[in-house]
Amino acid sequence: MVKIEAIVRPQRVDEVKAALDDIGVTGMTVTEVRGTGAQKGYTQQYRGAEYTVNLLQKVKVEIVVPESDTDRVVKAIIGAARTGEIGDGKIFLTPVLDAIRIRTDERGEDAL
């Protein structure tokens, strides 16, 4: 199994979720994160003091899938998350040794 970890723009999470629903992937876990990379930050003025904010709001979407589904899911995420502007985010693929469904003790791909 593979964990697909996508860092996307907050405004795109809904689209990503919808795209995954469309291809039948319903299990996922999302986390609010902040990220920095090539994307420029922005400045704010508070009483004339300037602040540069470089850690921008992003959302991490984690989906564990059977290895065979990886490409399909990655494609769906890219389709939904891409705006073409810097800051669209990354997808990281990491190995998963096993999965367990707490409710039933099911293991492996059955647990997904």
């Binding site: 405004q11 809904d14 994307q39 930050g41 004339g48 300037e50 540069t52």
Partner: protein, 463 residues
């Protein structure tokens, strides 16, 4: 304010010891000072009421749309607004006689303020002029350009609010002369802002929402705090409109409380039946709808009528809001459904429930043996407020749209108006660590910017 001429006549009946026009009464002055402060507080209250309902990324913009009215309208009112609303005795427009408050001093005024300083009446009225355009902001939330909003509001105040206030409450005003009653602003405040809200929302167009954006209220406790402050301040709004601390003021106070309570209760019960869950937002919406409905009627109807009106307005507003989805306009926070619908209902219900025994200056309404005469006059008032609000808003809005533009860009809307229009975030924390660079000397000196790598340098401000 509001129906002052009537209120004052009545006051003379119940308070025969009222001072001669030349001397202010300290008790009445005390109450109107307090009332003016209460009405001022309604605008921050409105800001919170609305603010809790938008998404966090647009919160400061929403709050500012109310607060900015406290700044802009105040200055405008002193310079020309009060004069255009109350000076002279023409049927439709005020004159320039009191521009810059010249002639508006500490002495009472024969017509508007027989027992309090004229300037006190002026500042009390100012508070109404402030909150009225701010009410509109709920309909244009989350997408309007801030500069256009400020300009719209200022013009609107002069071309919609001022003439309407003059017709309804001004010396020689056409609707006042006709005998249409509006104790504290059902037509002048709520119908006018409610219909304008609808028109402006349509001119602006819908928010750019994807089918699954989360537009739920981001902070309902904030909305409830706002509701509490609005309810509290509304006592100044309605009971202060007697321009005296007397029996009429008391009546207005009582029915304000009763209408707010019964409307909140009714809305809660409607939801309980319809959805099995009485919501806090429903309660708050009902309370405000009740307060709106009783506003034109407060000095004229009794507590049992207020119960009926409270229940009635919640049913009407509830279904008006339901209809929104069918009609497809994006009145973000239902200003039309609550203020316009509630205001119309309240104005007409005044024609049904008014009682001469409560206010000697008012005729009996339809249900108290007065026939349909008053109801008809009320309908005229409603129609005029609707007509002026709709046409003038359409005009101002269209001109602004064609010139400076009234809508934020898609990107501003998507990122959020706080960051893009105001350069701030409402909640910067509480604990998330964020890299920032400050030009502020504090903590500086040791290379505040040396770590800024090329790719992440933010655009330099114009300062």
């Amino acid at each position: 304010m509001a129906g002052t001429a009537f209120a004052q006549e009545a006051a003379e009946v119940t308070a025969p010891a009222a001072a001669a026009p030349a001397a202010a009464n300290s008790g009445n002055t005390a109450w109107i000072l307090a009332s003016a402060a209460l009405v001022l507080l309604m605008t921050p209250g409105l800001a919170l009421f609305y603010g809790g309902m938008v998404r966090a990324k647009n919160l400061l913009n929403m709050l500012m749309q109310s607060f900015v009215a406290m700044a802009v309208i105040t200055v405008l009112w002193v310079l020309v607004g009060y004069s255009l609303s109350f000076a002279g005795s023409a049927p439709v427009f005020g004159t320039f006689e009191w521009v810059g408050l010249s002639g508006v001093g500490q002495a009472p005024d024969d017509f508007y303020a027989t027992s309090i300083p004229h300037q006190l009446f002026m500042v009390y009225q100012m508070m109404f002029a402030i909150i009225t355009p701010a009410l509109i902001s709920g309909a244009v939330a989350e997408r309007m350009k801030f500069s256009a909003y400020v300009i719209f509001m200022a013009i609107w105040s002069l071309v919609v609010y001022a003439p309407l206030a003059h017709m309804v409450w001004g010396e020689g005003g056409f609707l006042l002369g006709l005998g249409a009653l509006d104790f504290a602003g059902g037509t002048v405040v709520h119908i006018s802002s409610g219909i304008s809200a609808l028109v402006l929302a349509i001119l602006l167009g819908k928010r750019k929402l994807s089918h699954n954006d989360d537009t739920r209220p981001h902070n309902l406790p904030m909305t409830l705090i706002g509701t509490g402050l609005l309810w509290f301040g509304w006592f100044g709004f309605n009971a202060g409109s007697a321009v005296a601390a007397d029996g009429i003021a008391t009546n207005a106070f009582v029915v304000t409380q009763v209408a707010a309570a019964s409307a909140a209760l009714a809305w809660m019960l409607i939801e309980w039946v319809a959805f099995k869950k009485p919501t806090a937002l429903g309660f708050a919406t009902g309370a405000v709808a009740g307060l709106v409905a009783i506003t034109p009627a407060a000095g004229f109807v009794g507590p049992l009528a207020a119960i009926v009106m409270g229940i009635g307005v919640s049913f009407l507003s509830f279904f008006a809001i339901k209809m929104k989805s069918k009609l497809g306009y994006d009145d973000t926070l239902d200003v039309f459904g609550v203020h316009c619908v509630g205001g119309i209902f309240g104005a007409l219900a005044t024609g049904l429930f008014a009682q001469t025994s409560i206010n000697a200056a008012a005729p009996n309404g339809l249900f108290f043996g007065g026939g349909a005469a008053l109801l008809g006059k009320q309908a005229v008032g409603v129609l005029i407020a609707l007509a002026i609000g709709a046409t003038m808003t359409f005009l101002i809005g269209s001109i602004l749209k064609a010139t400076i533009g009234i809508r934020a860009t898609s990107e501003e809307e998507e990122v959020g108006l706080d960051l893009t229009l105001h350069g701030e975030e409402a909640y910067a924390g509480p604990t998330i660590a964020v890299q920032t660079t400050s030009r502020d000397a504090v903590g500086g000196g040791h290379g505040a910017t040396s770590h800024a790598s090329a790719g992440v340098v933010a655009s330099e401000p114009a300062a």
